[in-house]
């Protein structure tokens, strides 16, 4: 699903965010990407979503060499990847339903499909009852569920969760992890970026640990610092 080969990213003048890393993630895997702040996790996410390009090396996502992707094709790549962030990135002036529908509308989906897909997704994340509430009327966990529903609108094969539980208490965080596990069960590859040791240790999944821009370890098990 993801093939990262000898990727380095250097920011001017001489900040090396990633140093010659190579990672391969198979379709349907649930992988934790862990590391302290500044380890290079967020840089790697930005490279995977083609917000930035690597200084050297090659990245393939779903068979696409995204390092050579033209600007015109970037939107098509992003429809194959769902992304959720720590700060949810919901539009405050739109209801939960509108937030999810917005993601479809801006991609040119027909109104009929929007009306079919959005309620389905809200049911999956357990928020169909709150579809017409605004983000400020929802709890942090509910907002993150909404963001997950939005990330799933294009039925992506890969879901990247960048610190999705960063602002949530442990009980709510557990609910988000369970939801991501369920999404993984139906075949969606999950890349869960976190520095929360408890969450990683709760599940026995593959853990890739980044340290100072390099892969320190890559194995199934626990997260040790």
């Amino acid at each position: 699903m993801i093939k990262i080969e000898n990727v380095s990213k250097t920011y001017r003048p001489d900040v090396e965010a990633l140093k010659d890393i190579s990672i391969a993630i198979e379709p349907g895997e649930f992988v934790f990407l862990v590391g302290q702040s500044g380890a290079g996790k967020s840089t790697l996410v930005r490279l995977l979503t083609a917000e930035e390009r690597p200084s050297s090396g090659q990245i393939e996502v779903g068979g696409w060499d995204i390092t050579r992707l033209s600007r015109r094709h970037i939107p098509r790549l992003r429809r194959q990847i769902g992304v959720v962030y720590q700060d949810f990135k919901l539009l405050e002036q739109r209801t939960l339903y509108e937030n999810v529908a917005f993601a479809l509308e801006v991609c040119g989906t027909s109104l009929k499909t929007v009306h079919t897909v959005v309620p389905q997704l809200l049911r999956i994340v357990g928020l169909e009852e709150k579809a017409h509430r605004y983000p400020r009327q929802l709890s942090g966990g509910e907002q993150q569920r909404s963001a997950i529903a939005r990330a799933l609108v294009h039925r992506p094969k890969l879901l990247i969760a960048d610190e999705p539980t960063g602002d949530l208490d442990s009980v709510t965080a557990k609910g988000i992890v369970d939801l991501l596990m369920r999404i993984n069960d139906v075949g969606t590859t999950i890349l869960f970026v976190t520095h929360n040791r408890d969450i990683v240790n709760m599940l026995r999944k593959r853990v890739i640990s980044l340290h100072d821009g390099s892969v320190r370890s890559d194995k199934v098990g626990k997260y040790f610092i």
């Binding site: 979503t49 917000e51 600007r71 015109r72 970037i74 939107p75 098509r76 790549l77 992003r78 429809r79 992304v83 990135k89 539009l91 917005f102 993601a103 509308e105 801006v106 991609c107 040119g108 027909s110 109104l111 939005r150 990330a151 609108v153 294009h154």
Partner: protein, 306 residues
């Protein structure tokens, strides 16, 4: 495709109304520019009308000697009347001149003069020719042709109601109005471009989260950029609409004053715009849309990373 187009329009309108005061200020400045530009167009049209009126009043009148033979006069007339520069040639025979004089004297109540003329056995009035040229520039050629004619001996007097000096000064003024007009238009085009540029820049800044999400979920560049371009076009269309709504009532209010002030000058300020409605406002709309697309495009290219 249709739903995409509908959504682009929807997003453009949403943004327009969400940033209502920003939109209002932008429209106010563009409208102000339009009104000023239209007043310069009006001034240009007015100076054209003044010139035409003065030019129409210019002519050459040739008076023949009382003793001139009718055949010579006719020969002279035949010689010059086919000149391409001549638009109108009116021949007034001695008899016509006498009749006209008597008629005007009767109208003015000077019957004694009419009686005196009737007593005379000869007609003391001269035959004459009034020549109107196609354009004011043609008079020197006509005058020179008259002077070179073999019949100059029968000409007693020729008057060229020379308005050349007035025409020259009006033409100079007209040239100045045009120069200032072009400079003012260029100036306002730059102002409008800067205003639009800034408005779109502020829009991009205030909606950066929305644009970020659009990018995140894979919205095409077209879907992100098009509403912004459309918003710029919307400013131009609305501003022009307001300008027309201001201009026409204002001109119909001013119309009686201008007619009274410029007595005898056939210049209809309202008609000037209504006769050229499509040309004037069509060009203005095209120019404003062009400036808006350019300015929005520059702001989008500079500030919106997709």
């Amino acid at each position: 495709m249709f739903s995409n187009f509908y959504r682009v329009i929807k997003f453009a309108l949403q943004n327009f109304f969400r940033n209502f005061w920003l939109s209002a200020v932008t429209i106010f400045i563009i409208t102000l520019s339009f009104v000023t530009v239209n007043f310069f167009i009006l001034a240009n049209g007015f100076s054209d009308a003044v010139l035409t009126t003065i030019e129409q009043k210019a002519n050459i009148t040739i008076f023949f000697q009382v003793t001139a033979q009718e055949s010579d006069v006719q020969a002279f007339k035949a010689e010059i009347e086919n000149m391409p520069q001549i638009a109108l040639l009116e021949y007034i025979s001695k008899q016509d001149a006498l009749e006209r004089f008597k008629n005007s004297a009767r109208v003015e109540g000077r019957t004694s003069i009419v009686d005196a003329l009737d007593e005379l056995e000869i007609n003391p009035l001269q035959s004459s020719i009034i020549i109107t040229a196609r354009s004011i520039e043609d008079y020197p050629a006509i005058l020179s042709a008259i002077e070179k004619s073999p019949y100059t001996s029968i000409i007693e007097e020729k008057t060229y109601r020379d308005r050349q000096s007035i025409i020259t000064s009006i033409e100079r003024l007209k040239g100045k109005i045009r120069d200032v007009g072009v400079s003012v238009m260029a100036f306002f085009a730059i102002i409008v471009a800067l205003i639009i540029y800034n408005t779109i820049r502020i829009t991009i800044y205030s909606r950066r989260k929305e644009f970020g999400i659009m990018k995140l979920v894979g919205a095409s560049n077209w879907m992100i950029r098009m509403p912004l371009l459309l918003e710029g076009i919307l400013y131009a269309v609305i501003s022009l609409g307001i300008t027309i709504l201001i201009l026409f009532p204002l001109l119909s209010f001013l119309q009686p004053y201008t007619t009274r002030y410029f007595d005898g000058l056939a210049f209809d300020v309202l008609g000037f715009f209504s006769d050229r409605f499509i040309v004037i406002f069509g060009y203005e709309l095209a120019a404003a849309i062009g400036v808006n697309i350019l300015a929005s495009g520059l702001a989008i290219g500079r500030y919106l990373r997709v």
